[in-house]
């Protein structure tokens, strides 16, 4: 049996209800939402709305029209950064950011001459909140923080960061790619101005889904213009949300699945999901720490991480180890820089990368036992 341990990239398998919801939409509804005056189009529209409602419940969002659906969190972050930042603006961010943040920022640096201040994450762990306060002092237009590293799994202190941003009145763009559906995120309590999320990881939905929440005070330029199925007599983009930012036929099939995924999470509860994840992470860390020659990066304690663990096996190249795991043991893990070059550079791994194991909600303990055995054998070769 194949063992899948790359849930930080895409969660797999999904709850049964997710497959059913996608199939049900495709077979029994199957039409564009809001583009027709017939019953089916209204049903499709209602389905999309119900997905917003489920997400609103999960993230405590009261105005559901402020949830903008996008193809993934990368598109959400691009919309946020490119729609918000103007010439010479100052952005504060961290070293654990994904290329979904880095690359748009580097592009804006060139295009709009923005200034980027990057906080350190020593050893791939926590950032220093005092350091954040120091750089917030002189003012900034935006703070961008990844809730948890997709390399070391290190969790950032959401509440403290949110409170500081509120105190200094700087909007906070929060990237929940690795945490939505696992850790509690309350946009109001945490003071999040913009929340980027993706549907295909912890939210247990299909790929091609994601979105951006905008707090009432946030005003963005759209990333794209086009048909919205509403106010079609206007030659310009409508101003009302979410239509302003949602041009083009949406991924209704994906959103049907995402709704089922989020409802599964709401039903099971974040506490139970996080407890399961902690159990697996603790077990994984224990096993890796027992292996001689295995160097684990990031926080030592499972409580300070999501279920993402990166490491290297003695001097064995990560890509080679991943290849052997797949080819010989049928175990799927990820190797490389995981789209996060800065944190690898800080860890001194820019030329080496790392091997990343990320169990999911449906990973069995026995599967981690098999991974351990395989890693032992690879090290003994």
């Amino acid at each position: 049996m194949a063992i899948y341990l790359d849930n930080a990239a895409t969660s797999y398998p999904k709850p049964e209800a997710v497959y059913q919801a996608v199939e049900d939409y495709q077979r029994n509804i199957g039409v564009s939402p809001g583009r027709g005056a017939y019953q089916r189009a209204i049903q499709a529209e209602q389905l999309v709305f119900n997905t917003r409602r489920a997400l609103g419940q999960l993230f405590n969002i009261s105005d559901l029209s402020r949830i903008i659906f996008t193809a993934n969190v990368t598109e959400a972050l691009n919309l946020a950064l490119k729609g918000l930042l103007g010439p010479e603006d100052h952005v504060i961010t961290t070293s654990i950011e994904h290329n979904a943040v880095w690359r748009p920022l580097m592009h804006l640096k060139k295009e709009r001459n923005i200034r980027v201040t990057r906080l350190a994450n020593p050893e791939g762990c926590q950032l220093d909140v005092a350091e954040l306060e120091e750089v917030l002092g002189p003012g900034a237009e935006l703070v961008v923080v990844n809730h948890a590293s997709n390399v070391t799994g290190a969790i950032m202190p959401l509440q403290e960061i949110g409170s500081l941003c509120q105190e200094y009145e700087v909007p906070l763009l929060f990237d929940s790619a690795q945490t939505a559906g696992v850790l509690p995120i309350d946009v109001e309590k945490a003071g999040i101005s913009l929340l980027g999320f993706t549907g295909h990881k912890g939210l247990l939905g299909p790929t091609g889904t994601g979105g951006l929440y905008l707090a009432p005070e946030i005003e963005l330029k759209p990333l794209k213009e086009g048909g919205t199925g509403s106010k079609s007599y206007l030659e310009t983009q409508p101003e009302d949300l979410p239509d302003r930012y949602e041009s083009g036929t949406p991924n209704t099939m994906g959103l049907a699945g995402l709704k089922a995924g989020v409802e599964y999470i709401l039903d099971r509860g974040l506490d139970e999901i996080r407890a399961r994840e902690l159990q697996l992470t603790e077990m994984l860390l224990e096993k890796l720490n027992r292996l001689e020659g295995c160097e684990v990066y990031g926080p030592g304690s499972a409580r300070e991480r999501v279920a993402v663990v990166s490491f290297n096996l003695a001097s064995i190249p990560a890509a080679e180890a991943a290849y052997v795991l797949d080819e010989v043991y049928d175990i799927m893990v990820r190797a490389g820089l995981h789209c996060a070059p800065v944190i690898h550079r800080e860890l001194g791994l820019e030329n080496r990368g790392s091997l990343r194991v990320s169990p999911g909600l449906f990973t069995e303990k026995e599967e981690l036992d098999q991974l351990e055995k395989a890693l032992e054998e690879i090290l003994a070769r």
Binding site: A37, I42, E45, Q46, F49, R52, D240, L241
Partner: protein, 171 residues
């Protein structure tokens, strides 16, 4: 109490094409809830003869019948669906506290003439026999005119306005 609301029709508002109107079928009759809504909801306009109640959520106007609802002036379909969620919660909350609420079965007082005037086509055509639409609004309130005497309202595409005025004046 009200779990199912199936929207059956959505289209742009005629008077304000940048807003939408819709109709929805309710999963079960809410007839017995209407007097409780009338007792609790501020600015509600209740007519037991229809029966129906008109309530407002900011700029949107909702009319609730026992097994149907209509909404006008919603921003877009997401907004309308959000208002329906709000309504469901209101009805659920009110029904949970129904023992503490004294239902109000009385017909709401007559509306302001300006409110009536706003629903009229505003053509000042005189077909009703009045000099202008404002005069017609006053006469309607006084019971000296009938909604159907407004020819543009009857012949033109003013479905919601006609319905709303009829709801107010049916006895």
């Amino acid at each position: 109490m009200l779990e199912r609301v199936d929207i059956t029709y959505i289209s742009p508002c005629l008077a304000e094409p940048d807003k939408i109107r819709l109709k929805a079928r309710l999963g079960k009759s809410i007839e017995e809830v209407l007097p409780y809504l009338n007792a609790v909801m501020e600015g509600a306009s209740f007519n037991p003869a229809v029966p129906c109640i008109t309530i407002r959520r900011d700029f949107r106007v909702l009319t609730l019948y026992p097994e149907e609802l209509t909404m006008i002036k919603a921003e877009n379909s997401t907004d309308a669906m959000q208002v329906i969620e709000w309504l469901k919660k209101q009805i659920r909350d009110i029904w949970e506290r129904k023992d503490e609420i004294t239902p109000d079965y009385t017909r709401s007082e007559k509306p302001h003439p300006l409110m009536i005037y706003k629903q009229l086509p505003g053509t000042n055509c005189g077909a009703c026999g009045e000099t202008n639409c404002m005069a017609f609004a006053f006469k309607l309130l006084g019971g000296e005119q009938e909604v159907d005497n407004c020819r543009p309202l009857k012949e033109g595409d003013y479905l919601e306005s006609r319905e709303m005025l009829n709801n107010l004046f049916v006895s």
